[in-house]
């Protein structure tokens, strides 16, 4: 039997020899029909970088719903996702820093000099340096979007952060809207890009809505396809929020061609119904942490601290289980004016004094003893810790 099977291997593989590679006839370098745009000569332009780098080498992975790290590099998304956007792998760099190729994480990944992760394309041959040099030059020249006359199609929305219908654990620092083409900066203002909260009833039609006044509302200085609403200083309130980008009415967002936004949103990007005009209206919800024991218990102590084997009780002298944070009552009993085992001169929670509460030291990593909590991370962001501080400073009420 074995002798009979071995010869089948070449037979099987020859059977599939019919599955040959394509001849490439009628296709560009990316394997797309020439009718979709065709080959573009190497040049320091986005169109050329898209056609000669992103399309043939990157989008086999970096496109669609399963794009690694959510980084989509297809033509509709590459500029918006790269230029002026921070790297997730190394937050000290922008993916593309206009004018600064050496400070652009994209270049570091292509050339294999990034501090973390593998050289791109992953598993493939590196892009020739002669080709990367065109990407460098495009960045040196300011990483501008496609040159040429403005498109005659209406602009559409291709992304929004936070995402439509998302539920957030904290109030966002900003809202960014990405478009498929350059936007007339003069049309990004508080009448065309608005944020409203429902007033607590999750409806936007009964008159109790509250308009949010942002700290700044502008088109990104380095990416004319990205509108940014800076929410610094805006009070975080748990509520349902509605974002509107106007493509109709007296004040509209316009492309550089003067054509109004095609904004209708039906659940997926890009927006639009194919004709000029129409508002982009979506909602997101903030279920942030509040400075109350119930909220802190539900958002921090419960899911983060009292997992099995950690601060899960029963209460007693043995750490970590003995510092029982498994319920509101247990947490209150374990924390309020209770001396720390590790640092007995300090209360875990000194009522009204967050700066002298050992809980804060442990969360912020400033304690003399032991490790920062949650043990092994990920650690709480400072905004979340500040909510705990606020609860303590306000008397740590039950």
């Amino acid at each position: 039997m074995r002798r009979a099977v071995l010869p089948l291997i070449p037979l099987i593989f020859s059977a599939i020899a019919g599955c040959t590679a394509g001849s490439g006839e009628g296709l560009d370098v990316s394997g797309r029909p020439l009718s979709e745009g065709g080959n573009v000569p190497l040049a320091p332009t986005l169109a050329s970088v898209q056609a000669n780098v992103f399309n043939p080498s990157c989008i086999v992975c970096h496109s669609g719903a399963n794009a690694p790290q959510g980084l989509r590099l297809d033509a509709a998304n590459s500029f918006t996702n790269l230029v002026g956007v921070g790297s997730r792998q190394d937050s000290s760099f922008l993916k593309v820093a206009p004018g600064q190729p050496d400070q652009s994480y994209l270049i570091q990944k292509l050339e294999g000099t990034a501090s973390t992760g593998e050289q791109m394309p992953l598993g493939g041959p590196p892009i020739p340096q002669s080709t990367i040099n065109f990407v460098r030059q495009w960045i040196t020249d300011g990483a501008l979007p496609d040159s040429g006359g403005p498109p005659i199609t209406p602009p559409v929305v291709v992304s929004l952060t936070p995402a439509p219908d998302s539920v957030l654990g904290s109030f966002p620092a900003d809202i960014t809207a990405g478009f498929d083409q350059d936007i007339d900066a003069s049309t990004i203002n508080d009448m065309t890009f608005t944020l409203v909260r429902s007033g607590g009833d999750n409806t936007f039609s009964d008159g109790n809505e509250e308009s949010i006044v942002p700290a700044l509302l502008t088109l990104s200085a380095v990416n004319p396809r990205l509108a940014v609403m800076d929410l610094s200083g805006v009070s975080a309130v748990e509520d349902l929020y509605q974002v509107t980008l106007f493509g109709s009415g007296p004040n509209m967002i316009l492309g550089m061609n003067g054509v109004a936004l095609d904004g209708e949103y039906s659940g997926s990007f890009p927006s639009g119904d194919g004709t000029e005009g129409g508002d982009f209206v979506v909602e997101f919800e903030v279920q942030g942490i509040q400075p109350s024991l119930a909220s802190i218990q539900g958002n921090i102590f419960g899911p983060t601290c009292s997992v099995a084997g950690c601060h899960s009780g029963p209460s007693g002298p043995n750490l970590p289980t003995g510092m029982d944070l498994s319920s509101e009552n247990a947490s209150f009993s374990s924390l309020i004016n209770i001396a720390s085992f590790e640092e007995p001169t300090i209360f875990r929670v000194a009522v009204g004094d967050a700066d002298n509460s050992y809980l804060i030291d442990k969360l912020e990593g400033t304690s003399v003893q032991g490790s920062r909590m949650p043990l092994g991370g990920p650690f709480l962001d400072q905004a979340t810790i500040d909510v705990v501080r606020l609860w303590i400073d306000s008397g740590a009420p039950r």
Binding site: G24, G31, Q69, D74
Partner: protein, 366 residues
């Protein structure tokens, strides 16, 4: 009948032929499982394969996979007591890539250093598991989850970060079936998984963020289902994955199988992918793999692999293939070598799709 349909039918025929007609089995890095007729979870902590080896997996590697087993006293199991187990994988080597029209590129590097920790507070029921890249310039936690199991491991539920259950979990992340589907060792996701491992059945269902390792950007989830029927000589399974994304949904489905015919372990997988998130609207693609592993003698495996990728069913002449011949040699325990040649064939306009690779890899599994 269009050429595309003919190709599709041919692939299906080959798959069915390898899985059913020859009627003998296969196991993949999975291939080792097929050669032995075992489930993935017999040798790996993950029931769908990959990551830390179990005590049995370590013993198998030393006693059965290696050509010679040097006397080192007792066998390494990774078990450091009832509650604790560790493991590691170190991979490095040399490779040469020849892209038409470009200078050949040679590279020698430490590719991967993985460490595993398994903590079992309640050895029969509760496992805490971490799988991390330890190379200083590439730190990354690949898996980090807690699993609650029934005492017989028949059912389990796990929450955290983990590799998604889908198809054959090949070690080669660059294989078309892993690269194109976007489900590989580089894209673990965060969520929950329920599994069933009973008798000849192995099944996993996961609900995860759907962001391929990135932060959650929408309220949509990714749903992954993998079901396999495993016998001593053959196995067959199917997977379904749906990623509900604001950036365009992706639906993937596959059938996969394994078959052992004497010394040959066969593997096959056929995927059909429907993408809504492309600039030109919906795009359907086809990607498949057929692999034969010939066990020349103990410690020597010769691997033939043929892969086929049609990026867009509506576009003709854009298909790509990837063929590999790899000699895998386990001279002694804890040491595996791979010497391989791989050739890509694609459209002539794109030199990278027509490259050749030669590689030598050293793998130290512990």
């Amino acid at each position: 009948m269009s050429a595309r349909i003919v190709i599709t039918l041919r692939l299906l025929a080959v798959l069915l032929l390898s899985v059913l007609v020859l009627h003998q089995p296969a196991v993949a890095e999975p291939y080792l499982a097929i050669q032995k007729g075992l489930k993935c979870g017999m040798c790996h902590v993950s029931p769908s394969g990959g990551g830390k080896r179990t005590a049995y997996g370590n013993i198998f590697e030393q006693a059965e996979a290696a050509e010679r087993t040097l006397d080192m006293g007792e066998l390494w199991t990774g078990e450091l007591g009832k509650y604790f187990a560790v493991g590691a994988d170190l991979r490095g080597g040399w490779s040469q890539v020849d892209v038409p029209g470009q200078t050949k590129i040679s590279d020698t590097e430490l590719e991967e250093f993985l460490g595993y920790v398994e903590i079992r507070p309640f050895p029969r029921n509760l496992t805490i598991y971490v799988d991390a890249k330890l190379r200083p310039d590439d730190p990354f936690v690949r898996e980090q989850y807690v699993r609650l199991s029934t005492a017989d491991d028949g059912w389990y539920v796990q929450g955290g970060k983990f590799f998604l259950p889908y198809g054959l979990r090949l070690q080669d992340d660059d294989a078309f079936i892993r690269q194109v589907t976007g489900i590989n060792f580089n894209t673990p996701d965060i969520g929950w998984q329920v599994g069933y491992e009973q008798g000849k059945w192995s099944a996993q269902f996961a609900v995860t963020r759907g962001s391929a390792g990135g932060p959650e950007l929408d309220s949509g989830k990714q749903y992954s289902l993998r079901v396999a029927h495993v016998t001593n000589k053959w196995r067959v399974g199917g997977s379904f994955n749906f990623n509900d994304s604001k950036f365009g949904d992706r639906q993937m489905q596959n059938i996969f199988g394994g078959l052992r015919t004497g010394r040959v372990a066969w593997l096959a997988e056929l995927n059909y992918i429907i993408d809504d998130g492309t600039p030109t609207g919906q795009r359907d693609s086809l990607v498949s793999l057929l692999e034969a592993n010939v066990m020349l003698k103990k410690g020597h495996n010769l691997k033939f692999t043929f892969e086929y990728y049609d990026p867009d069913n509506d576009v003709s002449e854009d298909e790509q293939t990837r063929s590999s011949l790899v000699w895998e040699y386990f001279p002694i325990q804890f040491l595996q070598t791979r010497l391989g040649y791989r050739t890509y064939d694609g459209i002539p306009q794109n030199p990278a799709q027509n490259r050749e690779e030669l590689f030598l890899e050293l793998h130290l599994p512990f």
